[in-house]
Each structure stands twice: as structure tokens, then as C-alpha cells.
Symmetry: C3
Subunit: 209 residues, 3 copies
């Protein structure tokens, strides 16, 4: 969305695709019907970008102006509906692709926020929101506390990648230097977190009631 | 909202009224207080239009610019608060009226999205969102997975009605030909689903964990 | 936001701070990790203003344009993460400060809505939403039905304070007469509700199923 290169488009649609599969799998496990699975797939694939676009007033969201952004999550949802047993068994692989989507979205989300005039701190936060927002919407619709809040190290890598992109953009570095290390930081950190089962710290001591 | 005819206004307000009653009944069953019942009634009556208006940037939403759109769901909520035993017994009748509201909202929602420059596919989707969004907001606020995802054939009729309206509009047909068959398709299909207990397909086979 | 006086800024940031602490405490009790606690703190502190700004199209929301609005809830969340046992024991005191935040937000929220051209009834409602929205977002993210719907007399005081502000503003009274009684009405009523354990009425009779 920050660039019209065909490569970026393919990457973005791939990110939406894997996010949508993770949403569809949650729908299947919650025993939703075909419509519920498609909506969860679509919300997970597009939710982060929607949240960002509504907050920075880039409405209507890009996904509503370009049919390819709608077709991809619908296709992913339909594929999940039919092939969920196989996809569920490959979930670790899906998670690796999901990490790639996260890396891409946090960077493109942050740069779009910069383009719309936000300062560096809000832009980095919106980059993170673009990456994690789809999963949060998925979990809210599926009636569970967002897994990003407690079960996984997911948001911090996204914030780090977004922060790099904003920082490098403000140094006027080349687009490759803005984007690639940002994606790599987020992707690498997230993959390590998956492989080594890293978690974020939890409060110490019992909670008062 | 696509037309200032008094008939359309009455129809829209009637749709908001029955949607709001369905929301108020959920609030009563969840043992909420008067405020909770009124908020659930209001969210159910107006939520779909709010979602649409925020996404197409038609802000402030129509319901905030015209006090009649606020008065109707508040009145419906108060009536439900007091007369919930009788209304609960008539729920099948409420559901038939709800189907009429769904038919109306999916058509007016789709046409408003077209008016704001959206393409045919997003416009049809936003029509569906206008119809089903209120019920989704109601269920999220009431702490349950939206029933539209699993228990009822509800969204597909709305999408079909909205798609008709967008299609007919692009053929430049008369307003009657745009609106009436769209409402009829959605209403008829939904009423049949209620009477015959139709469901959407669910995934086959056990979900992997 | 309706005035650039340093006093108002300090009051607003204080309100955000106590709201954020209440959000952080919920996060600790739900056993979320540091990120979840920070997000709940931030959503509770800023959620009401975000909802209002998106609905009246004052985007990007003020909190995204001024880093102080972001720093305060993050600091409150971090403090809660570390000192939650002590804060949890002082919850009654936190609730009194929360009532002050509620009084302030319902008034500033209503006046901002008036400034953006909304009529008196929607402006008063948006003032209430500004006050209670953060807590509603907190509860949705934490997976529970908003407490404002059933457990506490919380929304009515906010609506009363907002209604006063809108009414006094339309009389062209001085800023002090617009703001101070509005804050006092909401704060006093809410504190009485806490001390005397007042509740809003609930539906009578069993709910039909």
C-alpha cells in the first residue's frame, strides 16, 4: 500500500492469506458454520489494516477499494473449511508463514501511518496494531481473550519491526534499508519465540481480589 | 438514508425497532440492569449502520445526526425491559419482523455504500454488514460468539439481497426494481430458514487440535 | 481537548492515568503478560476518547497526535504490573479517582462533540461514551460482559454530567458554569453509588427462554 510494486502486492496478499488461514482454523475449532469460518478468516486477514485505516482516517480501507484484498481471505477461508484436517496438522508451518506476514504488516502499517502524518511513536504503535490487530479481532469474535495478551510473544517483535521502519524512514535511508531489516527483526524474533517457546513476563505474586 | 421519502423513514425506524427488541431480550436474559438493556437494544438497532458509516467515512453516522434514530431503540429497550415476558413468548413473531428489518437494511446499506463510491463487491458486503452488524455487536457485548456464525442461516440471505440491489443499481433499473426484489429475496429466504430450521454447512470431520 | 489550559491537560492526563490503572488491574487478575497488561491499561485510558473521535470523525484521535497521551497509560500499566498487590488493596481509593476521571471525561467528551457539530442529544450520549467507553473496551478485551451493564451504577452519572454540560453550553453560560457543575454532578453521584452500593434497576420477573 506504500508502494505499487507487484512484489509488495504479492507479499501483502500472501500475508493476508496466511493470517486468514489461522483465523479459519480457529473458526473450525469453534464449530462455526461456513459463514463463520469465512468471516473469521476475513477478519483475521484484514482486521489489522481496517483498524489502522479507521484510526488514521484512510477510509474506505484499502481492502474495500480493491477486490483482490477481499478475494484472498475468502479463498483462504474456503480452503480452510475443506482442508482443515491437513492444515491443522501443519500448524507449525502456518505459524512460520504467519511470522512472515507479521513482519511485513508491521512495516507497511507503520510506513502508511507516517505517510498520513502521524508522529514516530504513534506510527510505530499503529504498525504493531496492523500486525496484531487481525488476530485480536479473530479472538474477540471467537469469544476468547486475545492470545497475544497472554500466551505468546507476538506483539513485541511487531513493535520492534515497526519501530525500525519508522526510525530508518526518518533518517531518509533507502527503501530497502527501511523495509528489509524491519521485516527481518520482527520475523526473526518471532520465529525464535515460536521455536524456543519464549513468553513475555507475567506479573509476580498473586493478584489481589 | 438513500431517499428522503417518509415511507422509507418509517420502514427504517421499524427495522431499528425490531432489531432493538431482539437486543433488549438478550440483555434481559443476561440479567443486565436497565442501562445494559438499553445499550444492547441501541447497539443492536444501530450497530450495523454505525459499522458501515465508519468504514465508508460517512461520519458522524446518520443515527447521531437525527434524534429519531436514537429515540426509537431507546423506546424499544424500555418496552422490552418492562414487557419482556410477553415479548419473549412472541419471539417467533419478533424473528419474522427481524427478517423484514434484515431485508431492508441489507438493501439500503448496499445502496449507501454505492453512493459513497465503493465498487460492487465491497458494496454488497457492506450491505450485508449493515444487516447483520447490529446482531454481531449485540452478541459481542453480551459475551457470546455471534449467533450469525454458527446457529442460524442469517448472513447469506442478507448478502443475496444486497447483491441484488447492487446489481440492479448498476443496470440503472428503476428504484422499485432495485429495492423491492432485494428486500424480498432476503426476507423470503430468511423466513424459510426460520420456518424450516435451515442451517449453513459446518466443517466435516473432527477439528485437529 | 476543548481548551489548551495546562490545568485541563493535567486533569485529563490524571483521568487517563487512573482509568489505565483500573485496566491494568483487570489484566493482572486475568493473568495476562506484561504486554496484555499494558494494552488493557492503554485501552481503558484511551478507549473512550478513541470511540468518540472515530464516531465524530476527529481522526486521528488526539491520543495519537500527542505523545503524552500515550506515555501516561503506558506508565500506569507498568506501575500496575509491578505494584499490583498494593494498588489492588487500594482499589476503593482508585475507584474514587476513577469517578473523578469519569466526571471530567463525560464533560470534555460532550463539549468536543458539540464543537464538531452534533446536536444536544447525541452530544450528551457521546459524552457518556467518552466516560464509559474505556471500561467497556477493557471488559471486552478481557473477555467479560462490561461491568457497566450490570454490576454498577456508572453510566447514568456520566450521562447526567454530560447532559448538564451540553445544556449549559447551549445557554451560553461561562466555561466554569458549563464544566464544574457537570463534573460535580457525575462525580458526586458516582461516589455516592460506590459508598452506598447503589445499583440500577434490573428487569422484574424471570426471563423467558
Amino acid at each position: 500500500m506504500v508502494d505499487d510494486s507487484p512484489l509488495l502486492l504479492v507479499l501483502e496478499l500472501s500475508g493476508i492469506f496466511v493470517f486468514a488461514i489461522s483465523g479459519g482454523l480457529v473458526g473450525v475449532r469453534k464449530k462455526l458454520d461456513i459463514f463463520g469460518v469465512l468471516v473469521l478468516a476475513g477478519s483475521t486477514g484484514l482486521g489489522g489494516g481496517f483498524l489502522r485505516d479507521v484510526l488514521i482516517d484512510a477510509t474506505p480501507p484499502a481492502a474495500l477499494a480493491d477486490w483482490r484484498y477481499l478475494l484472498v481471505p475468502v479463498a483462504a477461508g474456503a480452503i480452510t473449511f475443506v482442508f482443515h484436517p491437513a492444515l491443522g496438522r501443519m500448524e507449525r508451518l502456518v505459524n512460520i508463514f504467519d511470522a512472515a506476514g507479521l513482519g511485513l504488516f508491521c512495516v507497511t502499517g507503520a510506513l502508511k501511518a507516517v505517510e498520513y502524518g502521524l508522529g514516530p511513536v504513534p506510527a510505530a504503535l499503529l504498525g504493531m496494531v496492523t500486525g496484531i490487530g487481525g488476530g485480536m479481532v479473530r479472538d474477540l469474535l471467537a469469544g476468547r481473550v486475545p492470545v497475544v495478551f497472554s500466551s505468546e510473544l507476538y506483539a513485541t517483535p511487531a513493535l520492534a519491526g515497526a519501530a525500525w521502519a519508522v526510525f530508518a524512514h526518518h533518517q531518509d535511508w533507502s527503501q530497502a534499508w527501511v523495509a528489509l531489516p524491519g521485516v527481518a527483526i520482527c520475523f526473526g524474533w518471532r520465529v525464535l519465540a515460536i521455536l524456543r517457546n519464549w513468553r513475555a513476563p507475567v506479573p509476580s505474586g498473586p493478584a489481589s481480589v
